[in-house]
Subunit: 180 residues, 2 copies
């Protein structure tokens, strides 16, 4: 990786490295957690995102990260009428984070302390693999971008994920009780 | 994702979500870039990491992130003799970030501005897929952890990556000149 002139680092991205380009957008834990909650938690409104935040995000941080995500083209914010709450939607780049988040979750399961139910969810999402991620991204495109997803006899991916998650959770808890 | 009492958020990870557990370790752009340079740039020493930093990392930030990564169990630092420079090694959790970084790079290629050579490298790494990532992680384990990798008639993955990268770069540049 060749070095580049310091002067060049002052404008635009600090390098053309794709990994750097990515982390410049969401190389911030709260930013990634907001995207996680919108993608997997289907939260579209400020209050949902704050009240539902498992990590207890502060409202000023949430407001700042939402504004930055809109500015970066990761989210769009509708212009609501007087007294109506704004709705945030994922853009294609944000939707396309699903495979990365699946791997990030799998890493967390393997190398950091988590709980059985959370392991079950993340392990299932990784095992489901690219084909499921594609289906889930198609569902997100339908919900956030209004792009109809291909006809399918199967229930929506989010429902399959929830069902598989409940099943994996039950199995995991039984197994853990067996261990104890 | 159920909310948890604010009090619980004060000690240890703020939640048991595997994605949160992961971003609490490297949910910081400089942290991830240091790991990127150690994994893909084979940098083991402070000076290499600073002088070679394409993003121009400041020495105080580099020192802080290296210390945090050691504390988090992502790196180990040897205890050098007087006047000898310290060598940093990746731990298994850090080595296991390869698939996540491959997806992060692929996302950056697709959704952020990059240069043809960088696109070529990241696109190749994603296309190489899980089997190559496993081989590359085995090479990293050998180099950083002293765990011999399985006998193989193939050259080391890092060499295959460099060769494929040079080839992809040449093709990409030819194609881009064709576009112009």
């Amino acid at each position: 990786m060749k070095t580049k002139p310091q002067t060049a680092a002052r404008s635009g991205p600090r390098s053309e490295c794709p990994i750097n380009a990515a982390v410049e957008v969401f190389g911030d834990r709260w930013t990634l957690l907001v995207l996680r909650d919108m993608i997997f938690g289907d939260r579209r409104h400020f209050r949902q995102l704050q009240a539902g935040s498992e990590e207890g995000i502060a409202s000023n941080i949430l407001a700042d990260r939402l504004a930055k995500l809109v500015e970066a083209g990761m989210l769009t914010r509708d212009a609501p009428g007087r007294g109506r709450r704004a709705t945030y939607s994922l853009t294609e780049p944000a939707i396309h984070l699903v495979p990365t988040l699946a791997h990030l979750g799998a890493w967390g399961v393997r190398h950091r302390p988590t709980t059985p139910d959370r392991r079950a969810g993340a392990e299932w999402l990784l095992a489901a693999g690219p084909r499921f991620w594609d289906d889930f991204m198609a569902e997100l495109r339908e919900r956030h971008l209004g792009i109809p997803r291909p006809e399918s006899a199967e229930p929506p991916p989010s429902q399959r994920m929830a069902a598989a998650y409940a099943h994996a959770l039950a199995e995991k808890q039984a197994a853990d009780q067996g261990d104890a």
